[in-house]
């Protein structure tokens, strides 16, 4: 309850994400039709039987949205996991070891950061084929560098804390120091980054799908946007095939962003402060505040 009041945005995000996850998990039971099942004319407008109409293959949009949530979430979470594990490990190693290791790893990270990601994606996906695992791996590999940077910076700062230096001077080994002092400190940050990474991965997935480089047999929200474009939903004024998947993606990523920001604020309450505001102190009605 308290958390709710403190981070209303985060709570809203969590609720949205929760709802989407539940819908996705229950999709096979909730979906009214088959995801390949033609249930009416192509681009049939919304009707009581099909509240969001049919797509360019005469498939029920509600069904597609429900099924698409599964893929989008799977890609989001799996890719974020890769990014978190890789980025966390590399950031931690670079920040803690320092020196040459740090320089080497950061050089790699810098390189990964300047790689134009969408073209790389295009090339890798085109050359090595399209599969769900491929898409997840590519997104994960594209996302870790940002994480690694932040984790490294944080590790560097923890490393300089007196309690870490003290642990070292009493003769504690690196493994021990990392495990007991550094990692626990970095975990909340990593969690925050992970939440953002989920959102980002979902966004990148829509790009991959839009370019037709996604897994051909998986229906994701990105794929629905692509279908709408390829199926000329715009010229055919079939807004019901365009608007819902975009809004769905937006809500999903927004929920991640909201949660991430709440976590961030929780970790760093300084984000809330500031000296300047249009409002200044209040004057108590004379004597009123005294007792």
């Amino acid at each position: 309850m308290n958390v709710l009041r403190r981070y209303p945005g985060g709570a809203l995000g969590a609720a949205m994400l929760g709802a989407i996850v539940i819908l996705a998990v229950l999709a096979p039971w909730l979906a009214p039709y088959g995801e390949h099942e033609k249930v009416g004319a192509v681009y049939q407008p919304p009707s009581p039987a099909h509240p969001l109409g049919l797509d360019d293959a005469g498939i029920d949009m509600v069904t597609l949205l429900l099924q698409g949530a599964r893929t989008s979430l799977l890609v989001g979470f799996a890719a974020a996991l890769i990014a978190v594990v890789a980025g966390g490990a590399i950031g931690l190693a670079a920040g803690y070891a320092g020196g040459r290791t740090d320089a080497l790893l950061m050089r790699l990270t810098d390189y990964m950061l300047v790689i134009p990601d969408i073209p790389l994606l295009l090339i890798v996906a085109a050359i090595w084929g399209r599969s769900m695992t491929g898409v997840i791996a590519i997104i994960g590999l594209l996302s870790w560098p940002r994480l690694a940077r932040v984790v490294r910076a944080e590790t560097l700062s923890v490393r300089e804390r007196a309690y870490v230096r003290r642990a070292l001077t009493i003769g504690a080994g690196d493994v021990r120091v990392v495990a007991t002092h550094v990692l626990p400190h970095v975990v909340p940050l990593l969690l925050t980054l992970a939440v953002f990474a989920v959102g980002n991965a979902i966004l990148v997935e829509t790009a991959i799908a839009f370019l037709g480089l996604g897994d051909p047999s998986a229906i994701s929200w990105g794929r629905l946007i692509q279908n709408a474009f390829a199926g000329q939903a715009v010229s055919r004024q079939a807004w019901w095939a365009i608007v819902p998947p975009g809004l769905a993606v937006g809500c999903l990523i927004l929920s991640c962003t909201l949660i991430g920001r709440a976590l961030e604020e929780h970790l760093n309450p300084r984000l809330r402060t500031g000296h300047l505001s249009v409002r200044t102190f209040r004057l108590a009605a004379s004597g009123g505040e005294r007792r």
């Binding site: 007196a162 230096r165 003290r166 642990a167 001077t169 009493i170 003769g171 002092h181």
Partner: protein, 349 residues
């Protein structure tokens, strides 16, 4: 026999970029700390006090010189074998807010050294932790052990950090500005604790820039300037009769309680830069009494004739001691030839 014996210690840090330059943070420092002795290392910010301590702790690598601890040369001891030494040499940092892991209860922080060194059983450790906390003045120890750092005041935190340093029963404590971040009202308590520990035989190397503290608690004081010790000797004597112009400025600058306004000698120029150490006497660019020779000759520490000391502060009690040395030939002409016993390591009172 002295506990810690540092000779000609130098620690340089290479700077990035060209031309290659080094920061001569510590540049030829010698001192000793005996059991039960408190040596205060004072000096302006950036003079290399912390670096000296870090080097002694082998957290920074010495460029030259030797560090002997309990008679053993630890200057180049490999990390593995350092562990045994570290058990006997503990450290307390300046910032009481950062020296305890905020996620650990005090008890666990204090017990960490025991865990690292695999000392005792669980029960034994608990005993040791509680007694350390009590020694550090945190009573009831059992209650404090259960608290988190944020539930303690600054002074209490610093005591907890000291307890963690004491739990292994070390011979030497290195304290880097242990009270400068504490409120006036609690400083005295922590310093009194040091006095107690010292009485029990613990050698302490304390870094500080607070001369009034030094005068009250230290046996001996070493004044650092730009990586060197410029004056060294029994605390009372050095503060009463500062010889080196830098020490004099330092002493004069200290505000004294209850005193009325008085003129302050001001050192000209900016704090010095250890990556560009001036030739000759390091202090000469800011020295009010520098002359030509100072630009060429880098003076060594030489014993102070106490008559000389008396001349500067006639009101003070003359303390005749060859252990007071300074590195300024101008204010301190080498009247007394160097004798062997004067170079011998100083002993605790």
């Amino acid at each position: 026999m002295s506990l810690l014996d540092v000779e000609d210690l130098a620690t340089h840090f290479p700077l990035r970029g060209r031309p290659r330059r080094v920061v001569r943070a510590v540049d030829g420092v010698s001192f000793t700390v005996g059991p039960g002795e408190l040596l205060a290392l004072v000096g302006e910010s950036g003079s290399g006090k912390t670096t000296t301590a870090q080097t002694v702790l082998r957290m920074a690598d010495p460029t030259a010189g030797t560090i002997r601890f309990g008679g053993q040369d630890i200057t180049t001891l490999p990390r593995r074998r350092l562990k045994a030494v570290r058990r006997r040499m503990q450290v307390v940092f300046q910032d009481p807010y950062e020296s305890l892991d905020p996620r650990f209860r005090i008890g666990r922080s204090v017990a960490e050294p025991l865990a690292v060194h695999g000392v005792g059983t669980r029960a034994e450790r608990r005993e040791m932790v509680l007694s350390a906390l009590e020694r550090a003045g945190l009573a009831p120890a059992a209650a404090f052990a259960e608290r988190f750092p944020h539930e303690l005041s600054g002074g209490q935190r610093q005591r907890a950090a000291i307890a963690a340093a004491l739990v292994l029963g070390p011979d030497l404590l290195i304290a880097d500005e242990p009270v400068s971040m504490l409120d006036v009202s609690v400083r005295a308590g922590v310093l009194a604790l040091f006095d107690e520990l010292r009485a029990a035989g613990l050698g302490i190397l304390m870094i500080t820039h607070d001369l009034s503290t030094t005068a009250r608690h230290a046996d001996r004081v070493a004044v650092m300037y730009l990586g060197r010790i410029v004056e060294e000797g029994p605390a009372a004597e050095v503060i009463a009769n500062p010889v080196h112009p830098y020490t004099r400025a330092l002493v004069a600058a200290v505000p004294r309680a209850g005193e009325e306004r008085r003129p302050i000698p001001i050192l000209p120029g900016e704090p010095s830069d250890p990556s560009a150490v001036p030739a000759g006497c390091r202090f000469h660019p800011r020295c009010p009494i520098a002359h030509e020779d100072c630009k060429r000759h880098d003076p060594a520490l030489t014993p102070v004739a106490h008559e000389d000391g008396m001349r500067h502060d006639p009101g003070s009690t003359p303390v005749a001691s060859g252990r007071h040395r300074a590195a300024c030939p101008v204010s301190n002409p080498p009247a007394v030839p160097l004798e062997e016993d004067q170079c011998a390591p100083s002993r605790p009172r």
